[in-house]
């Protein structure tokens, strides 16, 4: 039942999203040279397709009846044969996800400001310490290798420039 609620929200979000896409598609400026198919035609067709599909999806979700057991089994059997992705169901650990997602956003923000090595070290340690605190010495060593040593290898041996941040003073 809960999953159905999630699907209902998803279908509405998709309708709004496709309407927004279609709307922006109508605002695409026309080039001065006339073409058989302008730059707005393909986006408009895709937007329309998205809108129709979202509406069908919403209709399916809101009108859904309990699938018969045989039908559900048939769908699952087909899913197994085509190697469909597994369903992600059940309660999600929102606290852990939220924390790690914040770490990722902060990591993205600090990547250029603090440089690759420092931001990676901080993000890696934050992730490790939050998820498992038992092996912090080992994890610290791994974090140093993955950040400072990797930056050194990338910059000096592979000639790939990574942002150095304050470490630029050291010539990295």
């Amino acid at each position: 039942m809960k999953l159905n609620k999630e699907e209902r929200i998803a279908s509405l979000v998709l309708i709004v999203g496709s309407l927004a896409y279609l709307g922006v598609g109508f605002l695409i400026p026309m080039p001065t040279l006339k073409q058989q198919l302008g730059p707005d035609a393909f986006p408009k067709a895709i937007g329309l397709g998205l809108l129709i599909l979202s509406c069908i999806y919403a209709f399916q979700v809101f009108k859904s009846r309990e699938l018969g057991r045989a039908k559900a089994e048939e769908i699952e059997k087909r899913a197994a044969i085509i190697g469909a992705e597994e369903k992600v169901e059940g309660r999600a650990d929102l606290k852990t996800m939220g924390f790690m997602l914040s770490v990722m956003v902060l990591y993205a923000f600090l990547f250029e400001h603090l440089g690759y090595a420092i931001s990676t070290f901080l993000a890696f340690m934050a992730g490790c310490l939050y998820l498992d605190r038992r092996h912090w010495v080992r994890d610290t060593v791994i974090a140093i290798i993955a950040s400072f040593v990797l930056q050194y290898i990338f910059t000096v041996y592979l000639r790939v420039k990574l942002p150095a941040g304050p470490l630029s003073a050291l010539g990295l």
């Binding site: 999953l3 895709i46 085509i82 059940g90 650990d93 990722m104 923000f109």
Partner: protein, 501 residues
């Protein structure tokens, strides 16, 4: 004569020390990816693409093909020893492989999987050599309308096999096509969906989306449920080699699996997972030992493993000769090749023979390397499962950031990637498959271009797609594949009508 010239050229390219090392690195990394649960071939190839940026296109595809093959091989090891498939094409292998391991016959099971994969991989490569240039020659006669219809057919085949619901899979494909329309329109120079942001002028980089949708999404899925399931791991008792009786049963099932896999993957364009199931079904029907299937029969390992490798090889035919990816993983490879400035398709055989034949030769070499690597090192591969999940997740985050940033040196891409990670997770919650998005992004721009070219030819009439026979055939194929899940219902409906009368 020309054939042998090409083969010599190919081995000349592939056997350079640098390319041999890359092939070895590729199959090694690929096997690691295949073994590690949670990192499928798609995530693996996407994460490792940044490694290819400094390489020539030939070296890059050799590395990527090695990773792709290695991942297909590696997946079977964990299926047999841990009952956990490393990727979806090894799901069936679990059934008999794990049963064999429980009976203390893990060695022969692993050997059957490895040798079966080797035979099938080599066969698929041979077919690519023989039929590749021929298919490319036919495709050279294709005009823009045929290419447009071919892309529509390619998209629909993959979409129809992507998930439980066709509507959801189509939504995903259209979402990918919508992303592909972002950026400056190449024909008119008009910016579309850029919202005044100069970094969006080139559109969204497909790799940013792919890494977000697969790698980061996988991290989030694991974080949402961190309680690790205890895994019962079986050790390898006894020798690795198969007995005479095993060989006797191995050979016919290997031939059946290879042919079935090649037909399903190379000709019908369905993926490796379908191929492995088709082969298992075939074994159940025709094998002399069908009663033993499910209880640890060697046919249950050989057939599906041969089939999934033959299909993986077959999918490369579509990619190289037609420029159409047959699966999510090959779509990512196509995207990577486009980034390297190569356009896979029929012209490739003529314009870049050293690239195509070098790749083909390296596939032979890679297959041999995998056989040599896989069996003696099996103990080491299994140890990989000891890597704690939280460390693995942190490493995936790190490599995702590193890969996406080094592509354009843009911090904005990092935020976009994280955003797609969240979108990927939400899509998983409501069971919308993600792989069609990648296909949509990779093919979208090209599709639009071909459509516009076609309409210039026909002076604006859409009928051009229906009046040209090849194009019409391809479009009909698209209709057939998209309606395939409903055939049973339609059949039932007509039967009921018929019997009511």
């Amino acid at each position: 004569m020309e054939f042998w010239q090409n083969v010599t050229l190919g081995f000349g390219v592939a056997a350079t020390p640098m390319n041999l090392v890359l092939c070895l690195v590729g199959v090694f990394l690929g096997t690691i990816i295949g073994v590690l649960p949670g990192i499928g071939p798609m995530t693996g190839v996407a994460l490792l693409i940044p490694l290819t940026f400094s390489l020539t296109p030939t070296a890059a595809i050799i590395l990527m093909a090695g990773i792709y093959y290695g991942a297909m091989y590696g997946g079977s090891t964990t299926s047999i020893l841990v009952n956990t498939p490393g990727e979806s094409a090894s799901v069936v292998t679990c059934i008999d492989g794990y049963e064999m391991a429980k009976k203390g016959r893990a060695g022969p099971a692993l050997a059957a999987a490895a040798i079966g994969s080797f035979v099938a991989g080599t066969f698929a490569t041979l077919m690519l050599m023989i039929f590749g240039p021929w298919i490319a020659k036919i495709a050279l006669n294709f005009g823009p309308p045929e290419f447009f219809s071919l892309m529509v057919a390619g998209l629909t085949v993959v979409t129809s096999l992507a998930g439980r619901s066709i509507v959801k899979a189509l939504l995903s494909t259209f979402f990918g096509l919508a992303i592909a329309t972002m950026g400056i329109d190449m024909q008119s120079g008009v910016p579309r969906f850029t919202f005044g942001n100069p970094e969006l002028m080139d559109g969204l980089e497909f790799l940013t989306v792919a890494i977000g949708l697969f790698a980061l999404c996988e991290v989030l899925v694991n974080l949402a449920n961190m309680k690790e399931a205890a895994q019962e791991r079986l050790s390898i008792k006894g020798g690795l080699w198969m007995s005479k009786e095993d060989w006797k049963r191995f050979i016919p099932s290997c031939i059946r699996g290879t042919l079935a896999g090649f037909f399903v993957g190379g000709i019908a364009g369905a993926g490796a997972a379908v191929a492995s199931f088709v082969s298992y079904g075939l074994e159940k029907k025709v094998s002399k030992y069908r009663d033993e299937l499910g209880k640890g029969a060697i046919e249950g390992v050989t057939g599906p493993e041969s089939a999934n490798n033959a299909a993986a090889g077959g999918a490369l035919i579509h990619l190289l000769c037609l420029g159409i990816p047959g699966s999510g993983t090959t779509a990512i490879m196509l995207g990577a090749l486009l980034m390297l400035g190569l356009q896979p398709g029929p012209l490739l055989f003529q314009q870049q023979p050293q690239f195509v034949w070098g790749l083909i030769a390296s596939m032979y070499i890679g297959n041999v390397m995998l056989l040599v690597l896989n069996l003696p090192l099996v103990g080491m591969w299994v140890k990989l499962l000891d890597v704690p999940l939280y460390l693995l997740l942190n490493f995936i985050i790190l490599f995702s950031f590193l890969g996406v940033y080094t592509m354009n040196n843009s911090a904005q891409d990092l935020f976009i990637m994280v955003g797609f990670g969240v979108i990927g997770y939400l899509m998983k919650r409501v069971d919308i498959p993600a792989s069609p998005i990648i296909l949509g992004i990779v093919l979208g721009k090209l599709m639009e271009e071909k459509m516009r070219q076609s309409l210039v030819i026909s002076d604006g009439s859409m009928m051009i797609f229906l009046t040209r026979p090849i194009s019409l055939f391809l479009l009909l194929m698209a209709v057939v594949s998209i309606t395939n899940p409903y055939w049973k219902d339609i059949g039932r409906f007509f039967r009921r009508r018929f019997s009511a009368r």
